[in-house]
């Protein structure tokens, strides 16, 4: 079956090339049937990619180790859920995922626009086909996921245990949905530029795709942060690591894009800026995909660590050069239709927000690529760490929060200073109250920046609540509805606006969590024996007893050995709860460690235990010291090296029990982070807001309302026109 999979890829490459050629020829010669043929080729491509994915997935689920990829990334003892998701843990598999998502999304958008955008769609098809072709070329030429092994091993290497976490498994598809999703507006923007059709048509057709892509990308980023917090042993959620930054940068540009397209739709301004933003978003998405694979930022000499790094760079360079040339050649058609009347207008605030977002992206870009930049400029490679990133991004985040508060209150074109004062009066008052409360009741004054963020969060939330309130009140004066109905109809009629406000609210709640947890956390690393205790963040934590179990991995990742601890935490009021951090040990295939030793010398992962809370989290991790077991393990290797599996299991059980009886001091890390849960809650609210904004209005009801309104408007306008 691997041959079928490979054939799907090669056929896909040819199909993509045909799609591009047919669309271009059909567009230039005006022959519609050729354009239709090109579009159908994209549908075929989607079918081929689905077929190829099905072949690969079935190989994973069957644990068919004749496939090199399955042998490398899965094993018979990998739980089924992780078998199904192991495909995108590998480089080749993730290229296939990209191609699959791109072809399916392209098919969807082309189907939806098959009757409209007659001029633009063929060029957009060609662009999408070329991008898909690039990924297919990578697979066909260099990284074929269907490579087979001449002598398949009896057992695979197994999925890296660190990746055996539900969040980590949905994280890549989410990110890729985001990256691929932004390819759609990019393709249509290029089509619009080529056909000099630079109005808002291409934006209207692809706006929902951009919004959905943005939501998925943001969710993917948050899942990565959640994974870092709950799976890795350091207890943080963001380290300004290059792979993290690689996904954040396109998201920032995408956020700017979502805002500024509204300005083009409403006022015909910022056309050049919009095109620049979507090209930038797409390039950053490609860069993000590339960065994670290339290894160029981990070490100076690792450029050759990936076999496809150079190809990616060439492709990205071509996209940048080609798009820039296109934009420059079409500049006359990208003139603004209106000018900025006043700084106190929504347009101006959107522009400001864009500048801050792009500035933020620039800072992150600079810091991420600094090793390469510094080497180019000074000859020595240097890098900057989290403190630098935090120092530069914090002020920008504060400004962004402020803009999120004032922006919604400002109207399009112009708001008078008096109008602004009136609109901001209550929110400012509420913020002042919050500030007083903070000063009086908490010690947040110790961290002025965090306190400032808390005030801004209160400000933005007050503005959002006021917007909902006033909007519903305005509806009530017309329709006389009761409050709940007025509110729901308000949101239903103005989904974009109120969904957006909700997203703002969610984002500042996220900022609240970040500010609280980073400024006020209390971290303690200790090395203690059973019975001893330590304090952290107002909790007194006692090491009650060690634990050692076989095959009882709580997280369901299939670990044979789990060593851990039971901790009891007591808070200031005397309430207690238990925490059970542990460490999973996975066997290695490396024979040199000994038949018994290999169970202790393979990969090991921290299984942290967190007590979640709205006010604070108590996070604990343990690192059991197994050096004391070295002696018994060596003995066991010698005596039972050739014994049967059952005997070895009993021996391992005995050794593990020995740990439990005579545990040496273990190393613990305990972190008490205030408000950290609000990060996840805030992200959820953002997604809810995005859903509301993207939700298609129920056609029938809206058509009725619209047709009534439209009829009235139509009558008015015709009366005015005649």
């Amino acid at each position: 079956m691997a041959g079928v999979g490979s054939a799907c890829l090669f056929a896909g490459l040819l199909t993509a090339l045909y799609a591009a050629a047919a669309s271009l020829y059909g567009a230039r010669s005006g022959r519609r049937e050729v354009v239709v043929s090109g579009r159908r080729a994209i549908y075929c491509l989607a079918g081929l990619m689905v077929g190829a994915t099905a072949v690969l997935q079935s190989a994973f689920l069957r644990s068919d180790f004749s496939y090199a990829l399955v042998a490398e990334g899965s094993s018979t003892d990998t739980p089924t859920f992780y078998k199904a998701t192991a495909m995108w843990a590998t480089q080749d598999g993730s290229l296939l995922l990209w191609a699959l998502l791109l072809s399916v999304f392209s098919s969807t958008v082309l189907f939806l626009t098959r009757r409209s955008l007659r001029e633009i769609a063929p060029y957009a098809t060609a662009v999408l086909a070329v991008v898909a072709g690039f990924f297919l070329l990578l697979m066909v030429g260099w990284e074929n996921p269907f490579g087979t092994l001449a002598s398949p091993p009896a057992e695979g290497s197994g999925l890296n245990p660190l990746l055996r976490h539900p969040a980590m498994m949905i994280h890549p598809p989410m990110l890729y949905t985001g990256y691929v999703g932004f390819a759609i507006p990019f393709a249509f923007a290029v089509g619009a530029l080529i056909t000099r059709n630079t109005g808002a048509d291409w934006i209207r057709a692809t706006r929902k795709f951009a919004l959905v892509a943005w939501t998925f990308l943001g969710t993917g980023i948050m899942l990565g942060a959640l994974w870092s917090y709950t799976e890795l042993g350091w207890g943080g959620y963001w380290a300004w690591d290059p792979v993290e930054n690689a996904s954040l940068m396109p998201w920032l540009f995408g956020t700017a894009f979502l805002h500024s397209i509204m300005v083009q739709e409403k006022r015909g301004m910022l056309k050049v800026w919009n095109v620049f933003l979507i090209i930038g978003t797409f390039v950053l998405a490609l860069l993000g995909t590339f960065l994670v694979r290339s290894g160029i930022l981990d070490s100076i000499h690792a450029f050759g660590a990936s076999t496809i790094g150079v190809q990616f760079l060439v492709f990205i360079a071509l996209v940048i050069v080609g798009s820039t040339a296109l934009v420059i050649s079409r500049l006359p058609h990208l003139r603004s239709e209106a000018r900025l009347d006043s700084l106190l207008s929504r347009e101006a605030f959107f522009l400001l927000n864009n500048l801050v977002l792009v500035g933020l992206c620039l800072v992150i870009f600079w810091g991420t690529f600094f090793p390469l930049i510094s080497e180019a400029i000074t000859g020595t490679e240097a890098s900057v760490g989290p403190p630098w990133f935090n120092r530069l991004t914090t002020p920008l985040a504060l400004v962004l929060a402020l803009l999120m508060g004032i922006g919604p209150v400002v109207a399009w074109r112009r708001i008078t200073p008096a109008g602004l004062r009136r609109a901001l009066m209550w929110p400012v008052l509420a913020t002042a109250l919050v500030l007083v409360a903070l000063l009086a009741l908490t010690s947040s004054a110790e961290r002025p920046l965090a306190q400032l963020m808390f005030c801004l969060v209160a400000f933005v939330l007050a503005v959002v609540v006021q917007e909902f309130w006033r909007g519903a009140a305005a509806r009530r004066t017309i329709s006389g509805d009761p409050w709940p109905r007025a509110l729901s109809r308000l949101v239903a009629r103005n989904r974009r606006r109120y969904g957006g406000y909700l997203a703002h609210a969610g984002l500042v709640v996220l900022f609240l969590g970040v500010a609280g947890s980073s400024a006020f956390l209390d971290q303690r690393d200790v090395r203690i024996s059973p019975g001893e205790r330590f304090t952290s963040g107002g909790y007194s934590i006692t090491y009650l007893r060690p634990t050692a179990t076989l095959g009882a991995d709580r997280a369901g990742t299939g670990a044979p050995i789990t060593l851990g601890a039971v901790l009891r935490a007591r808070d200031k009021n005397g309430k207690t709860f238990l925490l059970r951090p542990s460490r999973n040990f996975y066997p290695t295939q490396d024979g040199s460690k000994g038949a018994i030793g290999r169970f202790f010398e393979g990969e090991a992962t921290s299984e942290v235990d967190v007590r979640w809370g709205l006010r604070r989290d108590v996070w604990t991790a343990v690192r059991p010291d197994i050096s004391a077991l070295d002696g018994p393990i060596r003995e066991a290797n010698a005596k039972f090296g050739d014994a049967s599996g059952d005997v070895q299991a009993v021996v391992i059980a005995a050794i593990v029990e020995r740990y439990r009886r005579h545990a040496p001091p273990a190393t613990f890390r305990a972190i008490v982070s205030p408000l950290v849960s609000w990060i996840w809650i805030g992200a959820g609210i953002v997604v809810l807001g995005a859903l509301i904004a993207a939700w298609p209005s129920p056609e029938a009801r809206l058509r009725r309302a619209r047709s009534l309104y439209a009829a009235r408007l139509g009558r008015d306008l015709r009366a005015e026109a005649s």
């Binding site: 079956m1 691997a2 041959g3 079928v4 490979s6 054939a7 799907c8 090669f10 056929a11 040819l14 199909t15 045909y18 519609r32 049937e33 050729v34 354009v35 239709v36 043929s37 159908r40 080729a41 549908y43 075929c44 081929l48 098959r114 009757r115 409209s116 955008l117 007659r118 808002a200 048509d201 209207r204 739709e265 409403k266 209150v409 400002v410 109207a411 399009w412 074109r413 112009r414 708001i415 008078t416 109008g419 009136r422 609109a423 006033r470 909007g471 305005a474 004066t477 009629r493 606006r497 619209r706 309104y709 439209a710 408007l713 139509g714 008015d716 306008l717 015709r718 005015e720 026109a721």
Partner: protein
């Protein structure tokens, strides 16, 4: 040779799907259908803008003088779109 066989089969399938419209000749939907959809979308967007401006006025964000000016401008643009839609109807009567 599983690969070669599969490749030939797949390419034949794709060719079939893709060549079909070429054989059938002229593309199916009327060329102006696309223009109508675009104009309808632009019309809806313009109506939404008019409504947004009304909401802004009711919520006190826009002064009534500003709203009058904006409303007049938007309605003028809406009229243009309606006129273009009418022209389209006239050129391709019925459906």
């Amino acid at each position: 040779m599983e690969y070669a066989a599969a490749l030939i089969v797949l390419l034949c399938l794709v060719a079939f799907v893709v060549v079909w419209p070429l054989l059938r000749g002229e593309g199916s939907p009327a060329p102006d259908e696309g223009a109508r959809e675009e104009l309808e979308a632009a019309k809806e967007a313009k109506y939404r803008e008019i409504r947004d401006a009304e909401l802004d006025l009711q919520m006190g964000k826009l002064s009534s003088t500003d709203h009058r000016a904006i409303d007049r401008e938007l309605r003028g643009e809406a009229i243009e779109i309606l006129q273009r839609l009418d022209e389209l109807e006239r050129v391709t009567p019925g459906r």
